[in-house]
């Protein structure tokens, strides 16, 4: 992680719902809109299904940024999953921020199945933003605590 930020390629994971954002990302593909390769998509039925622990695990396993995206309010395939998710993220984000975890590294968005272009923008914006923030070393160091503790001996 010593590399300087301009050479640094962020690792980003996207947690998306199946019905809006996943389909939206499909549309980006069928429209052949190009975007950065740094993001990999994990598919969930609904944003309501996205466990906040998975976000923490992603950080612990070395991502520098996270995208969480689903249907716009009122468009949820399951009518209210995204409303519940929104509440969860509000509380979760406040807590992370209070703990000094860098919430700028989690990008929340609503991307509908029709917003292929928006998806590409979202990815590129996020990649650039994370590139500026640099690798999330402090968190990854904390994650490697045990290895280091044991090596120090």
């Amino acid at each position: 992680m010593e590399e300087s930020n301009d050479k640094f390629e962020p690792r980003i994971l996207a947690f998306v719902c199946n019905w809006c954002t996943y389909a939206g990302a499909d549309l980006t593909g069928t429209s052949r809109i190009k975007y950065a390769t740094n993001v990999e998509i994990v598919r969930f039925p609904c944003t309501g299904r996205i466990d906040f622990m998975l976000l923490l695990k992603a950080f612990a396993n070395g991502v520098d940024g996270i995208i969480v995206s689903g249907c716009h309010p009122n468009d949820c395939h399951y009518t209210s999953g995204n409303f519940h998710a929104r509440r969860r993220w509000i509380v979760f984000r406040d807590m992370l921020n209070f703990l000094g975890i860098d919430v700028r590294r989690i990008r929340f968005s609503w991307v509908s199945a029709a917003e292929g272009a928006k998806w590409a923008e979202l990815v590129n914006e996020t990649v650039n933003q994370i590139r500026e923030l640099g690798p999330y070393t402090e968190y990854q160091k904390a994650a490697k605590y045990l290895e280091e503790a044991n090596n120090h001996e």
Partner: protein
């Protein structure tokens, strides 16, 4: 022999209840007491040093059994009982709630409405130390906050006293004991300790009664009480006070946030 002791002795004498959970003087501060015979009642005390949240015992079958019991309740015990009741964890018919007012009068509540009313009229003042500390942390830079919490939580030995002391941590199997998948590493590291606390707080969202038993219980005096307190304040600010005690499984279509674009 004060009114509380008399009342307690009477309840046991008449056989109205099989057990009374209250406080007795401990080594340095009051501690929980379990009276099963009238003689025990004389050891009961009640004062503002009584910190343990006795509601924690009300979900322990092995302690309360199937018989009628009484609990001598502080404000937070009452609040906990209300929440536990919302969560279907209490058999109302088998529980008598008592408290002692400022004049040493014993009050027996006939129903939960009465108890809630009394509680709401006797809200304890927020601990100024906690408020000050919250402010201090809020004013830190993000990096400072991270450094602060990392150093504090690094000390955690994961004895789970915070969990054990919390009346609302009554799961048969805590998420920390789930190993398929291993959500949280069960050994202490700064991160797993932090993940554990984040989970604790998220699981308390809208449920926590703010008794501070978690922090009180921590053998290392870690400031984990700040986390639940902060969460409660955030929730109040974001969604207003919710009576259903169930913030994360309800929603309002007009919930406001400024970070989802």
């Amino acid at each position: 022999m004060n009114k509380l002791n008399e009342k307690a002795a009477a309840l046991l004498q008449e056989g109205t209840v099989k057990l009374i959970i209250g406080y007795e003087q401990g080594t340095e501060k009051p501690r929980p007491l379990f009276c099963t015979v009238p003689e025990d009642a004389s050891r009961l005390i009640f004062n503002d040093q009584c910190k343990n949240n006795l509601a924690v015992y009300l979900t322990k079958k092995e302690i309360i059994g199937d018989e009628k019991i009484a609990v001598i309740a502080t404000y937070y015990v009452m609040k906990s009982i209300v929440q536990l009741d919302k969560e279907n964890q209490i058999n109302k018919d088998n529980l008598i709630v008592l408290t002692v007012d400022s004049d040493g009068e014993v009050i027996e509540f006939n129903d939960y409405q009465e108890m809630e009313k009394y509680a709401d009229e006797h809200v304890p003042a927020p601990d100024p130390k906690v408020v000050a500390m919250l402010e201090k942390i809020d004013n830190m830079s993000r990096e400072e906050r991270w450094a602060y919490w990392k150093s504090e939580l690094t000390k955690c030995i994961r004895c789970y006293a915070c969990r054990a002391a919390c009346p609302l941590c009554y799961c048969n199997r805590c998420i920390t004991e789930v190993n398929c998948p291993q959500w949280i590493d069960p050994w202490p590291t700064p991160l797993s300790n932090m993940e554990w606390q984040i989970n604790r707080v998220m699981h308390m969202s809208g449920r926590c009664v703010g008794c501070g038993a978690c922090a009180e219980a921590c053998p290392l005096d870690l400031p984990i009480g700040l986390l639940t307190k902060k969460m409660a304040m955030d929730i109040n600010a974001e969604f207003g006070s919710s009576d259903d005690g169930n913030v994360l499984s309800t929603f309002n279509p007009s919930d406001k946030e400024n970070f989802i674009h």
